[in-house]
């Protein structure tokens, strides 16, 4: 073996190992998705969506309360978190562009994106649940909103920065005030990007469990009142998966399947949108 052959061999081995690593990663992804699908598909039936839970030992219970509750919590979290995120991102990209404060908040948001979500839960317990005196859907929604804000803020900032400066100048030349330029010109130009940010932030919080454990708590009945404890899919999955009944397990798998499909659809949509509009990938 001469050096050239040795080098070639080394090259071959190293590249094979890297390829195997990539396929290992893919293997896990498909293993988990297949497993969720395989176990969840059996539990998918109309009763799951139409009926409320029944006590252990009786047949025919479902998770209607958790589906509706989860939808409500996520919806109001979006309603609170998205406007704050978009406005915050606007400030960083427009009014404070290039200033130190913008850099600082941008970096802090990036850090906030990865802060443990359970800490947010404890924070909300202390500032909302305890003073109000009971668990509530609102507390859960605020907790999720806090998780969404930095995600939306950062994508908005990135997307607005992509809008060419000349576009603003053209609008200013027509005598438009800055706020009008932002709303009518810049938002319009960056709409696809902002929408992606919203989609990704929803995908981020739909699967959250930890911040809901002691904020929105859980409810065994159907309740559409956000001032009450509200059932959520993820907390129900936790409770059901840890529980002893086979009927609970199959409902937990079925709910997991629904959540996974929903999130993957959102994530793929977001990616496609970005690729189609900007030819880039999301940074968060």
């Amino acid at each position: 073996m001469n050096t050239a052959q040795v080098r070639k061999l080394k090259n071959g081995i190293a590249l094979t190992v890297c390829t195997l690593a990539a396929f290992l990663g893919l293997f896990w992804l498909f293993f988990i998705i297949w497993d969720v699908f395989f176990n969840g598909i059996g539990g998918l039936n109309l009763a799951l969506f139409m009926n409320d839970p029944v006590p252990p030992g009786l047949e025919g219970g479902g998770l209607r309360n958790a589906f509706v509750g989860h939808l409500m919590i996520t919806f109001f979290a979006t309603l609170i978190g998205v406007p704050i995120g978009i406005l915050g991102g606007t400030f960083l990209a427009e009014y404070a562009r290039g200033r130190k404060i913008a850099r600082l908040i941008s970096v802090l948001s990036d850090i906030m994106v990865s802060v443990p979500s359970i800490v947010i839960g404890t924070f909300i317990y202390a500032v909302i649940v305890k003073p109000v005196g009971h668990f509530s859907g609102w507390a859960g929604a605020v907790a999720l909103a806090i998780i969404m804000i930095p995600v939306v803020l950062r994508t908005t900032e990135d997307m607005l920065s992509l809008v060419p400066w000349t576009l603003r100048e053209a609008a200013f030349a027509l005598g438009a005030p800055y706020y009008k330029v932002i709303i009518h010109v810049i938002y319009r130009a960056a709409a696809a990007g902002i929408l992606t940010g919203i989609l990704l932030s929803i995908a981020r919080v739909v699967g959250e469990t930890a911040p809901l454990l002691f904020t929105s708590f859980n409810n065994s009945f159907f309740s559409a009142n956000m001032n009450e404890p509200v059932s959520s899919l993820t907390v129900s999955i936790f409770q059901y998966a840890m529980g002893p009944y086979d009927s609970w397990h199959s409902q937990a798998w079925a709910s997991s399947l629904m959540i996974t499909v929903f999130i993957l659809v959102l994530a793929v949509l977001g990616r496609l949108l970005l690729a189609w509009r900007y030819g880039k990938r999301p940074t968060i």
Binding site: P55, L58, F135, G243
Partner: protein, 338 residues
């Protein structure tokens, strides 16, 4: 942009009005012990059908039940460990028992069925202290002559959360083993020396079901629900008793609950000949000043005392004796919630 906004607004308004249309239903929130969770949720389910009152009971462990009612985040707390009268006084609480049940020992040993393995308090405390760590230990073999016990490591399962089932179990172990009392003690959550922790009775049942050669303690209904192999246990009269309706009732019969002490009482190691040694009442805690919700909670339990016995029996709980129910009604009257 405007279109999206208007769609959102319509959605928000409709969701909110939708929510408020349900708001006139009476709702009661309770949380705590997982031990009576099956029976409370079955009662609540039946009760909501006849009265429209939705009683949302969440099993989070007795420690949590006590905590949440002290913080007034729920309408009532539930705990398997009774609070002493001075503790109740301090936090301005009322307390009454609701139902009685038994804690049973469950094992997962291939080939050993329910009611086949015999244990006594000494072996049990040593297993939970980690001093006996194999199934073929001499002390276990001695109690089970002729059983094929393999040299397998015992996986001890206990609760990870604050739990009344743990309180009853550790109170029992403290009563029968001075070693246990010294090293670990009794409480809703204790410092375990060995084993893995499951959340709630559900979690323990689940781990015992999934992990071979394990031992755990759960409320009897959970053992039945999951077809777990429960063991026989030697009681204070020296008999090996099988857990079940009769042996729990025997333990309950010897109980003397006193309204003046807010019913504070443990049922462990009861003297009856066939009494199951690890039994306990589970208690409801109310906040004295929450008049309105208290009346509704009491209404629910009054209904359960009248109509819920069959359901309780179906789920292997012991309904309170009539004399005790009347004592409780008297206690409610005294405290003006009935």
């Amino acid at each position: 942009m405007n279109k999206i906004l208007s769609v959102f607004t319509v959605l928000a308004v409709s969701l909110l009005s939708f929510g408020n249309s349900f708001a006139d239903d009476t709702k009661l929130n309770g949380a705590g012990a997982s031990f009576p969770y099956p029976v409370y949720s079955a009662w609540a389910y039946d009760y909501s059908k006849i009265s429209g009152v939705k009683l949302n009971y969440q099993s989070i462990g007795s420690g949590g039940g006590i905590r949440q009612i002290i913080n007034r985040t729920v309408d009532f707390g539930a705990s398997d460990a009774p609070l002493k009268p001075d503790e109740l006084e301090k936090d301005n609480l009322l307390q009454f028992p609701a139902v009685i049940g038994g804690v049973v020992i469950v094992v997962n040993i291939p080939g050993i069925k329910a009611g086949e393995l015999r244990l006594d308090s000494n072996v049990l405390s040593k297993v939970y202290l980690g001093e006996i760590s194999y199934w073929d230990d001499g002390k276990i073999k001695q109690l089970n002559p002729g059983k094929a016990l393999l040299h397998k490591k015992i996986t001890v399962v206990h609760r990870s959360d604050g739990s009344g089932t743990t309180a009853i179990f550790t109170d029992y172990l403290s009563a029968v083993s001075s070693d246990w009392k010294e090293k670990v003690g009794a409480g809703t959550s204790v410092k375990w020396t060995v084993g893995i922790g499951g959340k709630g009775n559900e979690g323990v049942a689940n781990y015992v079901k999934r992990v071979g050669h394990s031992i755990g303690y759960v409320e009897f209904a959970y053992a039945k629900e999951n077809n777990l192999s429960y063991t026989l246990l030697k009681n204070s009269s020296g008999n090996f008793v099988e857990p079940g309706f009769e042996s729990f009732e025997d333990a309950a019969r010897s109980a003397n609950f006193d309204p003046k002490k807010d019913f504070y009482l443990w049922l462990n190691n009861a003297p009856g000949k066939n009494a199951w040694p690890i039994a306990g009442a589970t208690f409801i805690l109310l906040a004295k000043e929450k008049k309105e919700s208290n009346i509704n909670v009491v209404k629910f339990y009054d209904w359960a005392f009248k109509k819920g016995d069959q359901t309780a029996k179906r789920l292997i709980y012991i309904p309170l004796p009539l004399s005790l129910k009347n004592k409780i009604r008297g206690y409610w009257k005294t405290n003006r919630v009935y």
